[in-house]
Amino acid sequence: MIVVVNGTQREIDPGTTVLGLLEGLGIAPDTVVVERNREIVPSATFAGAVLNEGDHLEVLRFVGGG
């Protein structure tokens, strides 16, 4: 099934969780914040948050800034 991650479509297996998605992308879960369909996904729920077809995800982290 298809989800949109940071503006780009990605094919994932049904049943994939937020944690599974991050691990699949090689992202350490404790370095990012995730928003799904404009709602923040608390990091404590990454492992249980199952993705749905068409979900829009934003995966963000801190970068240098002023």
Binding site: V5, R38, I40, V59, L60, F62, V63, G64, G66
Partner: protein, 260 residues
């Protein structure tokens, strides 16, 4: 000067220099920049993770004890600033936020009205809100009413290193506002940070001037000293300036006085 307390959002700070983390050629110098400048507060921005390349993580270079001040850069509206602030807080690094709402890409000037709206929403949600704004007394008063923890007027447009172009307006903010006034943006030289502190600014936020210096660590040390010197001068009370000369040495008892 242990009695010279500087408290923001309930946190007592020793240093009145805030530093940015953007534009460094190598983020690995950030710990030393923090150490030599004495800065205890650093700004960061929130951005999408690049899924196609494993970029370094700036957080690996920010010492644990630093107070994190995420900005809402990239926000063009109050709603976007609120969204970014909530996401930043969800990172678990505290509830401070520097509100930045900018829709002008040429001069990166902040939208005072949108900043007030975002400040009101976020302060009500318990954020410690430090808004980046023009040096405008009415905007500053609105921000105070909205629950801001400080006012952060620009000295000159972001990243220009042009100094305290808004000097007179900042002076008025310092005089009129009970909130701390933290000069943010435009400060290019330690002498300019020193001057802002002499005027009574509560603190300065410096990024570009340090990060793009030939030697960022050396410049960070210079800024730390300049901010301290300016604060000490402010506390000591500057002597009055005047138009005509006034001799510092006695005007009596000159050699040969009264000789014919």
């Amino acid at each position: 000067m242990s009695e010279d307390r500087f408290v923001i959002g309930g946190v007592a700070l020793e240093s009145r220099l805030f530093t940015g983390t953007g534009k460094y050629a190598d983020d690995a110098v950030i710990p030393e920049v923090c150490a030599v400048s004495g800065s205890q507060v650093v700004t960061v921005a929130l951005r999408r993770v690049d899924l196609d390349s494993a970029a370094g993580n700036v957080m690996d270079h920010i010492p644990q004890h630093m107070k994190l001040l995420p900005n809402t850069s990239g926000a063009r509206t109050a709603d976007e600033a609120v969204r970014i602030a909530r996401l930043a807080r969800a990172m678990g690094c505290g509830d401070w936020v520097k509100i930045e709402v900018i829709s002008d890409s040429r001069y990166l000037l902040p939208d005072g009205y949108a900043t007030c709206k975002a400040t009101e929403i976020l302060a009500a949600e318990g954020f410690v809100v430090l808004p980046y704004v023009n040096a405008d007394l009415y905007v500053a008063r609105s921000l105070a009413d909205a629950g801001a923890a400080a006012i952060m007027p620009l000295g000159a447009p972001i990243g220009t290193n042009r100094g305290l172009k808004t000097r007179e307006m900042i002076r008025i903010l310092i005089e009129e506002m009970a909130l701390p006034v933290i000069v943010d943006a435009g400060i290019g030289r330690p002498s300019e940070a020193c001057e802002a502190m002499e005027m009574g600014a509560a603190a300065c936020l410096v990024n570009t001037a340090i990060a793009t210096a030939g030697d960022p660590v050396g410049m960070a040390r210079a800024f730390g000293r300049a901010v301290r010197a300016g604060r000490e001068a402010y506390l000591a009370g500057l002597g009055a300036s005047r138009g005509l000369a006034a001799a510092s040495s006695p005007l009596t008892g000159f050699l040969g006085q009264g000789d014919s």
